[in-house]
């Protein structure tokens, strides 16, 4: 571990992003995006694995359009982040690319501790 480089950052829960929004933070040299989906917090790298775009800081949180019973329907609310460059969608909760089976955004661990969100550089399970 490099000395002096922080491995985690804490922010007050009150400053956590509401659903549908992103909150950018830094942990050392890493630009990390915080999201809230269905009441749970997620942290993703700000880098699109497709072509390296600033996925989260410049992208948009969106809701999927699906088809149910033959009709267009809304998917899970604000569950995707859409890349600003090529508009590929990624599932915030898993980092998985919705349109490419082999791509995944790097995810970081987020925990709630004593009224704060703790984001660490360790990979999320």
């Amino acid at each position: 571990m490099s000395a002096g480089r922080p491995r985690e950052t804490r922010i007050p829960l009150a400053e956590a992003p509401p659903p549908g929004r992103v909150r950018m933070i830094r942990v050392g040299a890493h630009r990390i995006a915080l999201f809230r989906v269905d009441g749970k917090f997620h942290a993703l790298a700000d880098r699109c694995p497709h072509r390296g775009a600033p996925l989260c800081s410049r992208g948009r949180v969106v809701t999927a359009i699906e088809v149910r019973d033959g009709e267009p329907a809304i998917g899970p609310q604000d569950a995707l982040v859409r890349c600003p460059w090529h508009k590929w969608d990624f599932e915030i909760a898993t980092g998985r690319c919705a349109v490419h089976p082999r791509l995944r955004v790097r995810r970081y661990t987020v925990e709630v501790d004593d009224g704060e969100l703790v984001v660490s550089l360790s990979k999320a399970p």
């Binding site: 699906e66 088809v67 508009k87 969608d89 349109v99």
Partner: protein, 362 residues
């Protein structure tokens, strides 16, 4: 074993259909205009002839005749016997023009007459041939009725739609047609024909080509439009048992189109939620392509890498396009593919696509 997926047959003149038409349509066919009903046709003329020289009776050429001397005997001698064809899939010639007539009711009646004619003159006479139903896509309800009328007969193994059309075939207006096809488990063959003719849209958005050679280079464009439309509208999601064959639209262009569509789908899938999976997945499962006219690069080594994107070992079906001028002879065509693909291309892929019965050995 060899299956030829694209063999054109046709009447000599529209008058040949008279015995197979309902009385009012017969009356129109005989007395329209000054010399009977004419079909819209290409504004370009092939400079050296549309047909292979030995497939029709040159001496008997008469004004208005489409395929003079073209008959089952010639098809047997020139193709079925000569190339030892196990099954030939019969596609229309001039009758494809019914699909681009502005009068949709008339088109529907002519289609029925042609299908009756085909059944009696070819399909009931020769066990090695199977037919595609000609239907009026400009009247989808009538098309569905025709599919339900004759589709249950074993002699018909699919539905023919020309590349020239007023509306791309994935558009929901065609839903009755797709429903009928799925109901009867019949595939649809989209074949380049009559682009820029009748009510069909122009060959390309560039405007009208000046020469036949331009037309024939670009004629797959209509099919490419249908291919993309069918995928984007989720036809295969709504009708999971539906199969589509792209006939005579080339192979290499489909590779590029599919790559481009797949890229666009990734960004635009919220616009087309009915297309739930990457388009290439539907293509591999539901779409087949015919070989003719197989592209001929100056360096033959370029061909196979250029078509691998459509997994030809699974999707490609041999077709001759008999009796047209750009006929592809089977042996030379199949030799251009690796040995391990040949059985699939020669018969395996078409057998399962058209759900043909295993032939009984003589």
């Amino acid at each position: 074993m060899l299956i030829d997926s694209d063999v054109h047959v046709g009447y000599e003149t529209l008058l040949d259909l008279c015995d197979y038409l309902d009385p009012p349509t017969r009356e129109l066919v005989i007395h329209s205009g000054t010399n009977g009903l004419g079909m819209p046709t290409y504004p370009w003329y092939h400079p050296t002839g549309w047909l292979r020289g030995d497939t029709y009776d040159r001496e008997a050429t008469e004004v208005g005749a489409q395929l003079p001397g073209q008959n089952l005997e010639r098809v047997r001698a020139n193709l079925l016997d000569a190339s030892d064809v196990t099954y030939a899939i019969l596609t229309p010639d001039e009758a494809a023009a019914f699909s681009v007539l502005p009068n949709a009711e008339l088109a529907a009646r002519l289609c029925s007459g042609y299908n009756n004619w085909l059944l009696e003159r070819y399909l009931e006479e020769e066990p090695r041939v199977r037919g595609l139903l000609v239907v009026p896509p400009q009247h989808p309800e009538a098309a569905a009725r025709e599919i339900r009328r004759l589709g249950p007969r074993d002699e018909f193994v699919g539905v023919f739609l020309p590349g020239g059309a007023r509306v791309p075939y994935g558009n929901p207006v065609h839903e009755p047609l797709w429903r009928a096809c799925e109901e009867l488990a019949l595939p649809v063959a989209v074949h380049t024909h009559f682009e820029g003719v009748g009510i069909a849209g122009p060959v390309t958005a560039a405007g009208y080509p000046d020469h036949y050679v331009e037309y024939h280079t670009l004629c797959g464009a209509g099919m490419w439009g249908h291919f993309v439309s069918i995928l984007c509208h989720g036809v295969f999601e709504r009708h999971p048992d539906t199969r589509v064959m792209m006939m005579e639209g080339g192979l290499v262009p489909f590779v590029g189109l599919l790559w481009r569509l797949e890229t666009n789908w990734r960004a635009c899938r919220s616009e087309i939620p009915y297309c739930r999976r990457p388009p290439s997945e539907y293509v591999l499962e539901h779409v087949r392509f015919t070989t003719q006219p197989l592209e001929e690069p100056a360096d033959e080594r370029l061909l196979l890498p250029a078509i691998e994107g459509i997994a030809p070992w699974e999707t490609l079906c041999y077709a001759s396009d008999y009796p047209h001028w750009d006929f592809d002879e089977p042996e030379q065509t199949l030799r251009r593919f690796p040995a391990e693909w040949r059985d699939a291309v020669a018969h395996g892929n078409a057998m399962s696509f058209f759900r043909l019965p295993t032939p009984v050995e003589a």
